[in-house]
């Protein structure tokens, strides 16, 4: 078998999932159609905070085709009016007495078709007594603030306080510091807005006593366990199928009330229930991301050596803490905010706060608050450079963790696995012609033109995670793979993670192809069905390759070890006399005597050695020893229009290092997409509320996703620093660009305006915001 035929690791194999998608033959949740299926639609609150005085369903129920209207009162009788969140809080499924955010679920209509259900939603009469909204988290913390959650024992809007690092040491560093810079940064509330909204088809079959839910889920196994615990239905009687998913980005990790109500409805009516959100519901009520109010300080020497970082965050979580973080990390992995820089000390504090806004916060293509962390440090380093009159590249080179320092223990306790930060930045600067750009900038500046160059040299932290620290509701964050080699050498692989566009059906097949020497086209990868896939925690936080990718490699190696015994039997040599080389077991010193995996597979079922178990299968539940730390160096060049405040990204170069690359085509595609989702909040996206707490950005007319016109032609490059602890050396890549891009863009815009005394601009950097600054500085045209 040749490498060309196998097409394993490192080959840009065309995707195996594409033939169905390009023919319109994917199966997304809304494509599921079952006999007798009913449709559910949801009545939502027009108030951010109100007491519910009365819900009258009479008119709605009287409409032809309306089967049922479900309220919180009814759910309460089934003990389902509330559900647990992944963060140990609880969340209303449907309210019994009050609503706490705009567009909150108030009641659910079940009807024979989706149009009738929508009509009936309008016929449900709800009488509200408005209460004062609580929108600003700083106001929410004041003692006289209205209480968002009177159901809690603690009568305050403060949820939790969380710290990382060494306070005493950090305070000492700051006292001694020659230079301290500080900055408030707000990272606004945004929404993942995958093009497919959320939804489910829930079907309880009384004949088999089985509940099947097709669900837009990034974590079907975890959701099955949650559903079992919440409903009391034995777990083997629940099957969750996550079919083709139209984008996840973190928004399909939480359990939303709609899923629970649809499940209740199918159990009650014993008919399939379909619930599909429309876009407004998706933007208005589903989990948001970010909403971090950050105060950061950096201590340094006068010659630019960073000594310490001190950060305090007020985190607006909305009405319920429904973040999707590992249990022990209420602020996610934010404490990685010391970034790519070696420093003596850091101290991080985060306070979670309730407001009358939708619950969250999930990631937005980000490994648990790492975007917030990277934005903080990458902005602060630039602010320090500005304070000291240093070049932003120079200050980074001066402070980088050096290659020989890995594994590197960060001041907040993380152990970075591997990296070569100076090499990545140098490559980026050389490729983009940094010095030439600086010369051009000086010339343009002299002519009154506004051009900026921004750098971001970020470190990601992905692959959650090791069982000693990482769990979700107590379930450790391992992941799994199961491989079966059929007699003819064809293979089925089942994995515990689930694709929403990442291309697992291709890349995981390539891993097995490489490990077993079986051509990739003979390998099928299945996922997303809890009845068939091994238990796993799902796909988010760039964890698939670091966890299930490792499990797949380890399972394949187990198969190879068994195959060695069979090959020895077939070749009539001792297993020790064989070596795995060029995709076959070959007799040492006589490489022409060999057995391929196809031959061995057939023998595993037809001619296996006496005493050896027949068959050729293996599974692995992989508990990663550490997280992985992808990194990159990004350079962004912008031009600002003095007449409109428009920021134009002229050029953007992303040098990424995600360790070993399994499929370079897919990796590049992930980077393009990630960069676009990094640019989006940097320049366009923000969820905005008015003073009543009504969301003003509930459609794609107001919540602006980048189109092909605003998106630049991204340039990418790579360095490869394998992870020392991952079986393949791979690190994960899907989110690096989303976290690395925003500060590169902001740093570029601020750089373009720095000579006017501008040191920071909060995202999104809209034309209006820039134009106001230009006016203030007297340079608007």
């Amino acid at each position: 078998m040749t490498a060309t035929a196998v097409r394993g690791i490192g080959v840009p194999v065309k995707r195996k999932e594409d033939p169905r998608f390009i023919r319109g033959k994917g199966t997304y949740v809304d494509d599921i159609k079952l006999p007798g299926m009913l449709f559910m639609d949801i009545v939502r609150s027009p108030y951010a905070h109100a007491r519910i005085k009365r819900i009258d369903v009479t008119k709605a129920l009287a409409m032809p085709g309306v089967i049922d209207v479900i309220t919180g009162e009814e759910l309460a009788k089934a003990n389902l009016a509330w559900m647990p969140t992944l963060m140990g809080d609880r969340q209303m499924v449907l309210p019994t007495d009050r609503v706490v955010y705009y567009a909150q679920e108030v009641a659910a209509v079940i009807a024979t078709d989706r149009y009738t259900a929508a009509d009936a939603v309008l016929a449900v009469e709800v009488e509200y007594e408005p209460l004062p909204p609580v929108l600003n988290p700083f106001e929410a913390l004041k003692p006289d603030a209205p209480l968002v959650r009177p159901d809690r024992e603690q009568k305050s809007n403060h949820i939790w306080h969380w710290e990382a690092g060494d306070k005493e040491k950090t305070d000492r560093v700051f006292q001694e510091a020659e230079v301290v810079v500080s900055q408030d940064l707000y990272i606004p509330r945004i929404h993942v807005a995958s093009i497919e909204t959320c939804g489910c088809v829930a079907n309880y079959d009384p004949a088999t006593d089985k509940l099947t839910i097709w669900m837009t889920s990034q974590a079907p196994h975890a959701h099955r366990t949650v559903f079992s615990l919440v409903t009391g239905i034995p777990e083997h009687k629940i099957r969750i199928i996550s079919p083709d998913i139209g984008g996840g980005f973190g928004g399909k990790v939480p359990v939303y009330p709609g899923y629970v109500i649809a499940t209740y409805a199918t159990l009650k009516h014993k008919k399939p229930i379909k619930w599909i959100e429309d876009r407004s519901e998706n933007l208005q009520a589903d989990s948001f991301a970010r909403d971090y109010h950050i105060h950061a300080e950096l201590a340094a020497t006068r010659d630019g050596k960073i000594r310490g970082l001190r950060v305090h965050v007020v985190a607006d979580h909305g009405a319920f803490d429904a973040a999707a973080n590992p249990s022990r990390f209420p602020a996610g992995l934010f404490s990685v905010c010391t970034g790519s820089y070696d420093m003596e000390a850091a101290h991080i504090q985060v306070d979670g706060v309730y407001t009358t806004k939708p619950p969250g916060g999930v990631a937005y293509r980000c490994s648990f608050r790492v975007t917030e962390a990277v934005h903080t440090i990458e902005r602060m380093v630039d602010i320090l450079a500005d304070e000291l009159g240093m070049d932003p590249a120079e200050i980074r080179f001066k402070n980088f963790i050096q290659p020989h320092q890995f594994p590197y223990k960060s001041p907040t306790g993380w152990e970075y696995d591997s990296g070569n930060y100076p090499a990545a930045l140098q490559k980026a600067l050389d490729m983009i012609g940094y010095q030439e750009l600086r010369r051009e900038q000086a010339e343009r500046r002299a002519r009154g033109e506004l051009m900026g160059i921004g750098i971001s040299t970020f470190t990601e932290i992905v692959g959650a995670g090791p069982s000693h620290t990482f769990d979700i509701l107590g379930i450790k964050m391992f992941d799994s793979a199961e491989i079966r080699v059929h007699p003819t050498g064809a293979v089925i692989v089942r994995i515990g993670v689930q694709t929403q566009g990442q291309g697992h059906e291709t890349t995981f097949a390539q891993i097995v192809a490489e490990e077993l020497g079986i051509p990739v086209e003979y390998i099928t990868v299945e996922h997303g069905d809890t009845d068939t896939a091994p238990y796993g925690l799902g796909t988010y936080a760039s964890r698939s390759t670091p966890t299930a990718g490792a499990a797949t490699a380890v399972a394949a190696r187990k198969i190879r070890e068994k195959a060695r015994l069979i090959a020895a039997h077939l070749l009539e040599v001792s297993p020790d006399d064989l070596e795995w080389k060029d995709y076959a077991f070959r007799v040492k010193g006589a490489p022409d005597r060999y057995k391929t995996m196809q031959e061995i597979a057939f023998a595993a079922y037809t001619n296996f050695p006496l005493g050896l178990e027949p068959g050729l299968e293996a599974e692995c539940y992989y508990d990663p020893p550490n997280l992985t730390f992808p990194f990159g160096a990004y350079v962004c060049v912008v031009d600002i229009d003095r007449g409109t405040g428009q920021v134009k990204i002229r050029e953007f170069l992303a040098v990424d290092d995600c360790g070993t690359i399994i499929n370079p085509m897919i990796v590049e595609g992930q980077i393009h997409g990630g960069l676009t989702m990094g640019m989006a909040p940097a320049l366009f996206e923000e969820i905005v509320y008015d003073e009543n707490g009504t969301m003003l950005t509930g459609t794609f007319m107001d919540y602006l996703l980048p189109t092909a016109v605003e998106t630049p032609h991204w340039k990418t490059a790579k360095t490869v620093t394998p992870s020392p602890h991952h079986p393949l050396g791979a690190k994960g890549v899907g989110e690096s660009p989303t976290i690395g891009a925003p500060p590169a863009i902001v740093n570029a815009v601020v750089d373009a305006l720095s000579h006017l005394g501008v040191r920071h601009i909060d995202i999104p950097i809209t034309p209006a915001k820039v134009y106001r600054i230009l006016q203030e500085k007297g340079v608007a045209e």
């Binding site: 093009i195 189109t707 092909a708």
Partner: protein, 166 residues
């Protein structure tokens, strides 16, 4: 609810149906004809996931009533492949990795087909402008542009394809 009779040719096959006047074309295609390749991504004619060709012109089928297309011809993603031969646009999307989750892909491809019917040799800028009514959250558009360029090349080289209706 009152219904009206319509006759419409979809992907070369003629259908007659009784539909509510308010039934959207996208729901007619998906729920009545079971052509679920056309997707729904928003309520405001913004995302383009539901793009189909109506008498050869791209429309967002969430903003067209089924009764409007009475007597017309519709082409959906399911009609692109002919005689087991992928349309060059489909081929381009596969070759150039122009899709990830696949949800925006059918609408994006239909817009591309319409563009190439009108302009067989579009510049990158013209492609980007043509697809600016189709949102993609996964790819960052770079490979979608390449996919359409691939299809344009292929079509100019004289691949035999039928486009724009039956």
């Amino acid at each position: 609810m009152e219904t009206l009779p319509i006759q419409v040719t979809v992907n070369g096959r003629t259908y007659t149906a009784e539909v509510e006047p308010r039934l959207l074309l996208v729901h007619f295609l998906r729920d009545v004809l079971n052509l679920t390749g056309t997707h729904i991504g928003c309520d405001t004619t913004s995302c383009g996931a539901c793009t189909v060709l109506w008498n050869g012109r791209p429309v967002k089928s969430c903003t067209v009533f089924a009764v409007q297309v009475d007597g017309g011809e519709i082409l959906t993603v399911e009609g692109l492949e002919r005689d087991g031969q992928l349309h060059p646009v489909q081929e381009g999307f596969w070759e150039e990795h122009g899709l990830q989750c696949g949800f925006c892909t059918p609408g994006m491809m239909m817009t591309a087909v319409a563009l190439l019917n009108e302009n067989p040799d579009p510049t990158e800028e013209e492609i980007r402008k043509a697809i600016s009514g189709n949102l993609c959250r996964c790819t960052g558009y770079v490979n979608i542009v390449k996919a359409i360029q691939y299809a344009a090349r292929k079509l100019r080289e004289g691949a035999t394809v039928h486009v724009g209706g039956a």
